[in-house]
Assembly symmetry: C2
Homo-oligomer: 272 residues x 2
């Protein structure tokens, strides 16, 4: 493993975009370890100078110029960072002028427009989706299940809850989830109240080995965590998915983001 490299993120707002972009690019160097430092809400030359001072101090013993990912919308503030002795990667610098030319519209150059509430209704529908999803987590409430846009099925510990919440938070999807228990699955039948909602159902599955491992942490040496039991439950669940033609997603070694993106694609849900 090579030496830990320092990487910096400078943003005029939340730093969500610049961190996401930076991590995506640096993931292309999987054998290199990075230490990230983020400076959010850097929206003036003075704040750039403050950030630079810390960056220079932290990088004093490093070789080469410090690597900085930035998203600075104000051209003056951005130029101030770029002219410093750091290596800046800023998509505003790279892309905003050609986009402006293509659109025939001047950019506003105001910082932090992207993660702002631009549309009160969109914001409320997102909060509503999160609330709906929390109330309908883990089969907790089957009332108003008809208001769900998506219903996630799966045996215990297949990532139903985090996936549901992610879908609600990021895509404003009202997402219920319902646990398939050994009792429920007797005779390998879909719980009857779910049948009218078949087009909204999506199943999760994983490998028995992985499931057993996860359950083991929760209840060590229980029947619940037993490899055979896990195999049996997953098999019953998959049989139901196949019989009922419910699309399903393997969550093993997939992140919540990947599971969510795959569900949206499979279910052809419009990204809001």
């Amino acid at each position: 493993m090579s030496k830990l490299r320092l990487v910096f993120v400078v943003s005029n707002s939340t730093a969500i975009t610049s961190e996401t972009l930076g991590h995506s690019l640096m993931a292309q160097f999987p054998n290199q370890d990075f230490k990230w430092t983020t400076f959010p809400y850097v929206d003036s030359r003075e704040k750039v100078d403050n950030a630079l001072e810390q960056i220079m101090e932290m990088s004093a013993d490093e070789e080469g110029q410090p690597i900085v990912f930035s998203t600075l919308a104000d051209p003056g503030v951005r130029a101030h960072l770029i002219k410093a002795d750091v290596l800046v990667f800023d998509p505003f610098e790279a892309f905003i002028n050609p986009i402006s030319d293509a659109l025939g519209v001047k950019p506003s150059s105001k910082p932090g427009l992207s993660h702002r509430i631009s549309n009160q209704r969109a914001y409320e529908s997102r909060i509503e989706a999160v609330n709906y999803t929390l109330i309908h987590d883990d089969g907790a409430a089957i009332r108003h299940i008809e208001q769900a846009e998506l219903i996630i099925l799966g045996v215990s510990r297949t990532a139903k809850t985090p996936t549901s919440i992610y879908l609600a938070m990021h895509y404003s999807i009202r997402c219920a989830n319902y646990p398939l228990t050994p009792d429920d699955m007797e005779g390998e039948l879909l719980p009857r109240f779910l049948k009218p909602h078949r087009d909204k159902l999506v199943g999760l599955t994983t490998s028995a080995r992985r499931l057993s491992q996860i359950r083991q942490e929760r209840r060590p040496d229980s029947k619940y965590a037993n490899l055979q039991q896990c195999k049996f439950e997953l098999q019953m669940a998959e049989n139901i998915y196949i019989q009922e033609r419910i699309p399903f997603v393997d969550t093993e070694s997939r992140s919540i983001e990947e599971i969510s993106a795959t569900i949206i694609q499979k279910m052809q849900i419009e990204r809001k």
Copy 2:
């Protein structure tokens, strides 16, 4: 308002990075409306051709070249998109070679490394943070409150729950939240069991007008939603924050992302 413009996103993976980047850049043109179409998991030339076919069909009546944000890690796949008759903005194309030069390491060129589970422990700590946060939502469980890394306070409907969940999901923070009720706040005292955790406390507040509006939707014409009542509760809460030196954040017209980023900055929490 000018004509709706089509914008496309082509990604070899979840499309989270490219959508985030595209939205950030296009937010610089707030008077222009966009219609977004995303093609995730485009990881071969054939899939690029499929996406291009749909892009061309959808753009048939548009002026100028279609605008495409892409994050394609494979140089061959990326080149295939770039040579088509579309205007491509791809940060891999713009940045990966200079980054590689600075690091002195070749990029892997493998798609989708960023939202993948690269570190099983980091993944588990995230899921654990989400579970902890759900269990400790809205004062539901004060057991194990000492395990919280952050405790969010606020009167009803100040965005405690979505903020807590966002912090757990994105920053792996075990985040409890506790509602300040009029009863609780009598005498403007902090609930006693929270006192030992003062350094983890952060308060939320908003304007009485906005709070009344939000509560009105939940319980129309109730005392709960009454403007005077909202003013009274917010005043009591802020008095507690000030007396107890609890940092607090105004959530009015701030998105969940902005509230979260501000909390992290104020509380000097390390971004994991």
